[in-house]
Symmetry: C2
Subunit: 156 residues, 2 copies
């Protein structure tokens, strides 16, 4: 089964993976905000309009979680991912408003074998998420660990 999955060796610099599209609904924005970020501009249309966000807007952390799901559906669930140690940076460039449709891509920037974990390599990505107007809504870079195919062949 693992043979068909994306291994460290498959992530060459420059390779791009499409993300989305995903339309964000009012109900999703409010549900996430109630649990994790109950600031008024994420809970209420009028409060959102009165804020610098200009409308009922998703929490930045909601946008980040939606981006994670887009990555999972695009390539992570079809890979030998070992997870990520963190986020190098994340910029919420534009408000994500109710009804917006997000899409984008993850591009491999660089890769390196991990000395501390033989058979595992680190892949650094640049992630760009746009809204339906083509505006950059979210920009991020982070590194994700993947098992090497070579190591699987050696141990099986």
């Amino acid at each position: 089964m693992s043979d068909n999955k994306l291994a460290f060796e498959d992530f060459q610099p420059g390779r791009r993976f499409a993300l989305g599209p995903k339309t964000v609904t009012t109900e999703e924005i409010i549900e996430f905000a109630r649990e994790f970020d109950p600031q008024p501009m994420h809970l209420d249309e009028a409060a959102g309009r009165a804020s610098i966000l200009g409308g009922l807007a998703a929490s930045g952390w909601h946008t980040s979680a939606l981006f994670m799901r887009m990555m999972a559906d695009s390539f992570l669930l079809a890979s030998l991912s070992h997870g990520a140690p963190g986020i190098d940076f994340m910029e919420w460039r534009k408000p994500v408003l109710a009804g917006d449709t997000l899409s984008g891509h993850s591009t491999v920037i660089e890769t390196r074998p991990l000395r501390s974990r033989p058979g595992v390599g680190m892949v650094k990505f640049r992630h760009e998420i746009e809204n339906q107007k083509g505006e950059l809504a979210c920009l991020s870079e982070n590194s994700i660990m993947f098992a090497m195919r070579q190591s699987l062949e050696m141990t099986s």
Copy 2:
């Protein structure tokens, strides 16, 4: 009402805000993962134990969202926050396992008025979240915008 809320002027470098405690349950971990990060180590105890995380572990994005909620409850909802433009970095240092209790603090590092938005200032924080063993589970820095009290007085 705004008079009682924390304004930009109240965030002096060195001031600390306690976060949590928050115990993370199996059900919460699985519910978040199903929606946003359906990788096996976040959905299934056995898969978690087999992974480098060592047990059913919260998605890093779930830990981040829980951290957001801890900030909201600690000081953001009692402040004149205008939201945050992003995250400078976030490190998921230790797996957050089912049953773990998270707590920590946000410390003001530096503050500056925003030239682009008169009456608003930017406050940079360092955020540290520990588990119940005192291990640093999550480390992050980001900046959050707050209205100035002075500006409110001038416009009211």
